[in-house]
Symmetry: C2
Subunit: 180 residues, 2 copies
DNA sequence: ATGATTTAGTTTAGGTTTAAAGTATCTGCT
DNA sequence: AGCAGATACTTTAAACCTAAACTAAATCAT
């Protein structure tokens, strides 16, 4: 009954009259299957694209996806982001960000700058070398995404954006600990 | 210019006449932004849901998401699945499946049964204990997914399923190494 | 001011994950 | 038969990732 994307409902109990409207139980079951199906379909698309991009980043630029992702977050903020901000935006734990930042810092692509106002915190920012490296990668990366999604008609892309934005809003409204 | 979901185009070069249709360059730029935006939006929804489910599986059942996922694949195939099949379905590397299967086998939830026809291969299947444990978890898991997506109108869910199926088809048609 | 609590970040232990190399078996070809 | 290549799976090294415990600094409430 689970993780099954290709199953149809089997014959139900016979109705006394021809009934175009499903009974409550059937509708619930259908809703459940619909939610699960949606989730699994989205997951498989996401993983597929992620794997493709991971491989290309590795083979073409020798960088990992999480490192690229961290740099991408930083690129928009020349003044830098705090570790906690990075963690929230990347949707990973703080410990994880510490590790990735360590690596990138060792490679000279980012730097930690102590916050003068707060002795515990610092801003992480791209170094000039990091910015240069990222800019070159980002353009190619974007073209990969465009390529991977090019078979989807523009209107459908637009619809998907809209529907996923709606989903995102609901997800964050529901248990809105960490904002988008 | 990258990973920026909230940016609009700035003023362009002045056109000689009022022009409702965008020029080629603008349309390209827009397409690029559209594809990237779609990808990032889908990624953030997926990660959000994944994190939520991972946490609940851990706190309520003391199981990890990949282990649950492997068991979910197996549940549909009482006769078992080969390692390669699992790898393909779960969209992870073979080595990864080896590790997760080792863990689950040690916990007595799955078993490796040698394939009599092929000395290299075996079928992995749920043990009775594994089946029992999974069945209990699966129902609750499904209800979580339903809950997380319950604010999305049924029609929108249907549309999303359709559009994501289309995307999945295109993704697999494009570089169709491993089928869905 | 001083102690309790919160906050920012790190560390640790354990599990996941990949890419690449390795082992054993099978298949096809001659 | 026997060998070349393909296939099924495992191992290895390095990176990622989480949850939980930890350190240090800031804030708050007396």
């Amino acid at each position: 009954m689970h993780f099954n994307e290709n199953k149809e409902r089997a014959g139900e109990a016979p109705a006394p009259l021809p009934e175009p409207v499903l009974d409550l139980a059937s509708r619930l079951t259908q809703d459940h299957h619909q939610a699960l199906k949606l989730w699994l379909r989205m997951l498989s698309c996401t993983v597929k694209i992620e794997n493709e991009i991971r491989g290309r980043l590795r083979s073409q630029f020798g960088i990992t996806l999480p490192r690229f992702d961290l740099m991408a977050q930083l690129e928009r903020y020349p003044q830098g982001l705090r570790m906690g901000e990075l963690s929230r935006r990347m949707m990973v734990t703080g410990g994880n960000v510490t590790g990735i930042t360590d690596q990138l810092e060792q490679e000279g692509l980012v730097q930690r700058v102590p916050d003068p106002k707060d002795g515990r915190a610092f801003s992480v920012m791209l170094t000039p070398a990091g910015r240069k490296a990222f800019t070159e990668m980002a353009e190619v990366h974007e073209s990969w995404v465009v390529e991977l999604l090019q078979d989807i008609p523009g209107d459908d892309k637009g619809q998907l954006i809209e529907l996923l934005s709606e989903m995102k809003g609901h997800l964050y409204a529901r248990n809105g600990k960490d904002k988008p």
